[in-house]
């Protein structure tokens, strides 16, 4: 394990300080547990929610609004959505949004004075949660990436982290661990995703956890070509055109139309269908989209601008750690929440970006906090005396550190996943080639001698790419985000989930029947 500068103890360790981690930490503390919340960046700005606005779903069971959302999830889920799970997630979301209001979060109002709770402003929401956690005596640790989990007799017993600035290690012994590290966007440059490199998947898999639905990770978001801002909502009021100005009207979803054309040449957008009233709503609601346009001197409502697609991976796709009907993973003492967990039960084979994912984070985060607290109570006081061992058995190679090697490994990994031709549209040949290159990169030891945090990020990127690639190879059909050019149609016999896992030996396999949940 190397030198450990500091050792601390808490009933529950929550890894990742986005919405899911914050709700997990608050609920664990509210249930009497001592809690450490640790983030590799800063709790309040880390992750995909902090960097923008996020839609939430504020509906009551039994209403037409609720039925519309559940109906849409089921329709877009391509056979994987569980309606009752969506209902439960949205019930908990309503409860949490009401709690935020009760705590004094400054929600906006409609013009007639009714409160509006259908949108949260990322940095405002997460700063509010941070303050709330500090008042609830949660110990918040920033800029300290977790490197690996600790296990004791098959159960997760803590983690080892390393402060980014001092390089010193921190050992945290805990009764349970919640993974809330978000999804993985493969360093595509999509907004707020630079920290989202699949770290939580890797450390969980090393402890024996199973993933599910990793083939449903080929989600791409539209952004201006020069920009990180992958906020897709505005493009519902947009018109897309090619270099010559011909309007793109090909059949299919808008992402696929744009993807097909981008493989051929530049694509442009103009937000010409937004009414003046909506334009004002956008500007007053989403400065993170419009301030960058202003700085570029572009009026997106009046002039067209070049766009691109950026990979959003499992941040907006639905693959992730396999959980039961709440937030328990397949490993004792390990819970997963938010984008770190598979969202197939809510959004199936399609993107859960926006309201579904933000609601999922609130509900699964809360459940993870509650269930981790009862799990730790069931352990009694004895967990503090457990012997624990590290889960990453790999030795650091003795070769001299080379950042060139590391950068090249990251670039090669991205090249297997990001390009539209191969990533968005796949086939046996493209996936097999990626599988073989990724396997060679993983097996190579030489590049692993550099900066520990960067090496672990690169390992997580490769491992996540491999689970996604092996799962996509196995699913010989097209369904939702899985687009196989060699199998363009869905196969009704394959409406079953694919689990995956392993690190040195990657595996993927269909599950016997449509059952998204781990045994509970």
């Amino acid at each position: 394990m190397g030198e450990t500068a500091e050792k601390i103890e808490a009933d529950i360790l929550v890894i990742g300080g986005g919405p899911a981690g914050c709700w997990a930490a608050w609920n664990a503390a509210a249930n009497g547990a001592s809690v450490v919340l640790i983030d590799k960046g800063y709790v309040g700005t880390s992750g995909a929610t902090a960097a923008g606005n996020t839609t939430t779903i504020y509906t009551r069971r039994g209403t037409a609004e609720r039925a519309a959302t559940v109906g849409q999830r089921v329709r877009l889920g391509h056979g994987f959505t569980e309606a009752e799970r969506v209902e439960r997630v949205l019930d908990r979301t309503l409860e949490n949004l009401d709690l935020l209001a009760k705590w004094g979060y400054d929600f906006p109002s409609y013009e007639d004075g009714r409160p509006y709770r259908g949108m949260l402003r990322g940095p405002d929401y997460l700063r509010f949660m941070r303050q709330k956690l500090i008042k609830a005596r949660v110990k918040v640790i920033d800029h300290c990436p977790v490197e690996q989990l600790l296990v004791s007799d098959g159960a997760v017993a803590g983690a080892v982290a390393r402060f980014r600035r001092s390089g010193e290690t921190l050992e945290i012994r805990s009764g349970a661990v919640v993974i809330a590290t978000g999804g993985c966007a493969f360093l595509s440059g999509a907004l707020g995703t630079h920290n989202l490199t699949g770290d939580g998947y890797l450390m969980a898999a090393e402890a024996g956890a199973v993933l599910s639905g990793m083939e449903f990770s080929a989600q791409y978001g539209i952004s201006p070509a020069y920009s990180s801002v992958t906020k897709g909502v505005v493009y519902f009021w947009g018109t897309f055109s090619d270099e010559q100005g011909n309007v793109l009207t090909a059949p299919g979803d808008r992402q696929s139309v744009v993807a097909s054309e981008l493989i051929r040449g530049p694509v442009y957008a103009i937000l010409d269908k937004a009414s003046p009233r909506l334009q004002e709503g956008f500007r007053r609601g989403q400065p993170n989209i419009f301030v960058p346009f202003d700085r570029m001197g572009i009026d997106p409502f009046k002039e067209r601008f070049p766009i691109t697609l950026r990979h959003e991976g499992t941040v907006r796709g639905t693959g992730g750690l396999k959980i039961d009907h709440r937030s328990t993973t397949t490993v004792p003492g390990l819970f997963a929440a938010g984008d770190a967990a598979t969202r197939q039960g809510m959004s199936g084979a399609s993107t859960g970006g926006g309201g579904p994912n933000s609601s999922w984070a609130m509900a699964t985060g809360s459940w993870a906090g509650e269930d981790a607290a009862s799990y730790v109570r069931s352990l009694g006081a004895n967990w503090r005396a457990r012997e624990a061992r590290t889960t990453n058995q790999r030795k650091t190679p003795s070769s001299p550190p080379s950042s060139d090697d590391l950068n090249s490994v990251v670039a090669q990994t991205k090249q297997q996943i990001l390009p539209l031709d191969g990533g968005y549209f796949r086939n046996q040949e493209s996936l097999s080639k990626a599988s073989s290159i990724l396997s060679d990169l993983w097996d190579d030891e030489a590049w692993r001698s550099g900066d520990r945090a960067k090496v672990r990020e690169a390992e997580a990127l490769i491992a996540t790419s491999r689970w996604a690639t092996e799962s996509a190879l196995l699913r010989k059909e097209s369904r939702g985000l899985q687009r196989r050019t060699d199998f363009p149609d869905p196969n009704p016999l394959l409406a079953r989930s694919i689990d995956s896992g392993g690190t040195d030996d990657i595996w993927a396999s269909f599950q016997p029947q449509q059952k998204m949940s781990a045994a509970s």
């Binding site: 606005n53 906006p108 020069y226 920009s227």
Partner: protein, 112 residues
């Protein structure tokens, strides 16, 4: 990407050093923080929100250098524009209630 830390405006509070999720800045004793790892910047603009004196400029170009000067940006009124639009003051959100995003859903074009 982050391009400017204004020496004139910076009050050396180092809030940006802490708030940056990607550890882009290094604090410097008795001086303004430096942009130590520019290529790690994810162009999220959040450091600008936390800056109490509008001393930072993040260019909307996420993969290239814009190269604007502080003088140009001040003349154009751009320094701090994201913070003003978001309604943050002294590193605290003060514009949360001004969000008009409900208009996105009022025509029924999309279901949340």
């Amino acid at each position: 990407m982050i391009e400017i830390v204004s020496e004139d405006r910076c009050v050396k509070c180092d809030l940006c050093v802490d708030a940056c999720p990607d550890n882009v800045f290094d604090a410097v004793p008795d001086s303004a923080p430096v942009i130590a790892r520019q290529s790690d910047c994810q162009t999220c603009f959040l450091c600008e929100l936390f800056c109490p004196t509008d001393a930072l400029y993040v260019s909307p170009l996420s993969e290239a250098i814009e190269g604007s000067t502080e003088t140009d940006l001040i003349a154009k009124g751009v320094m701090g524009s994201f913070r003003r639009e978001m309604g943050w003051k002294n590193a605290k959100p003060r514009g949360t209630a001004g969000d008009m995003s409900y208009r996105i859903f009022e025509t029924g074009t999309i279901t949340p």
